[in-house]
Symmetry: C2
Subunit: 243 residues, 2 copies
């Protein structure tokens, strides 16, 4: 088991982020964490619009967000594009590349962000001698799958407003996990990104924000969103967060 001091030490370097997503409590000892940590390399910070990896590029590493945020998306041969997800600190990216040597989507920074790199070859090496880490890796990948399924459920909700409500609530949940104020969201992505993510038109999203504001549900100011009535938000979502 890990003592507080050691975790705090790790927190300061890149490994921490990895640990955050390799969610504790895990079966990893302090030594294990240090081994894991040794596979993590810091990278130059990304500026808004910079690409971390591009769809089709050959796969080499997983990435963990340290600060800032990124989006992942696939683009079809004709301009059509689908945003797959938004990634906050602690999130792991590039998992889809594990199947077949190539990243199946692109990742782009939404604001100035830093990530660290887990070169897969090294990760494999380390985890070969650490069954706990191996299992943890599997859990993380499977977790990404479940996240994708949640996205799907959101897209299935026929009502536009429910989709957006769902989106906002999940953002708030993620903020809470990061021990940020879950009432006060700072959305780094554009309306158009949100719309695409939800399968809606950009204008619809904009309209819905103003509607929710005039319903007293939110206070919207550009990219800053304050949740005023969480209860009403939950009502809109309909159904609990069971999945």
């Amino acid at each position: 088991m890990t003592s507080h001091v050691d975790l705090d030490e790790l927190r300061r370097n890149c490994g921490y982020s990895a640990i955050h997503d390799f969610r504790l409590p895990v079966g990893l000892s302090v030594g294990d964490l240090q081994a894991l940590n040794s596979t993590a390399h810091d990278m130059l910070p990304l500026d808004r619009g910079d690409t971390l990896f591009r769809q089709g590029e050959s796969f080499g590493a997983l990435y963990v967000v340290r600060s800032g945020s990124l989006k992942t998306f696939v683009d079809g041969s004709e301009g059509d594009l689908q945003v797959l997800g938004f990634h906050l600190p602690g999130d792991i990216m590039g998992i889809g590349g594990l199947t077949n040597e190539h990243y199946p989507c692109s990742a782009e920074a939404l604001e100035r962000s830093s990530v660290c790199e887990l070169r897969y070859a090294q990760l494999q090496e380390v985890s070969a001698s650490l069954p706990a880490l191996h299992h943890q890796l599997i859990r993380v990948i499977s977790g990404a799958l479940v996240t994708e399924q949640r996205h799907l459920v959101m897209m299935g909700k026929q009502q536009a407003q429910r989709r957006l409500a769902f989106f906002i609530r999940r953002m708030a949940d993620r903020y809470e996990r990061l021990s940020r104020d879950p009432q006060e969201l700072k959305l780094s992505m554009s309306r158009s990104d949100i719309a695409n993510y939800l399968g809606l038109a950009l204008e619809t999203v904009s309209r819905l924000f103003t509607r929710m504001e005039s319903d007293g549900l939110l206070a919207v100011n550009r990219k800053s969103i304050r949740i005023l009535r969480r209860d009403l938000l939950n009502d809109l979502c309909g159904g609990e967060i069971d999945i």
Copy 2:
């Protein structure tokens, strides 16, 4: 590497299905395959409507479809339900349960089907001594993630017709992989399942089928679909199958 005879031998028992989805060429030797095979247990066949596992149930095993087909779906607390996928022979199910001890969705047979069970405890045991299998497991899970992303891309297509076209084409592709005739689909799921899967209304799907039929694209007879003009189908999808 595996010789033909050995593969054929395995084909006869449950392991084959697993191998099919643990896609070859893999780094597994014949011995490895037999070890893998030893973890697979046949189960009593399921009848149409039978449940393989239920959302929320505690996770214990992965399942490989041997014959027939199943659907997976999540249901929210109020009647709303989302179909996540349809599973044909060779497909692995239950992967979402790896994250947190519980299946995040339910699985139900669409017709009389047989599956085999890979108890996870045993799988872990075997793969502990087989790095190749371990890596392969990771690839499979990641592959499931990518499949989910493809579903998402389909849901993102704004046009109902494009969604259905996409769906049909992917079904044909899967048929081809199973070396069935990819022109002649036997859809085991109901219109309502398809509609839900695509985020459409059941009536819309029905209408689209008849439209496509009168456009000379398909021949539709209830659950049997014959693809007459694959080229036109591809046109409808727009964009290539790049992802």
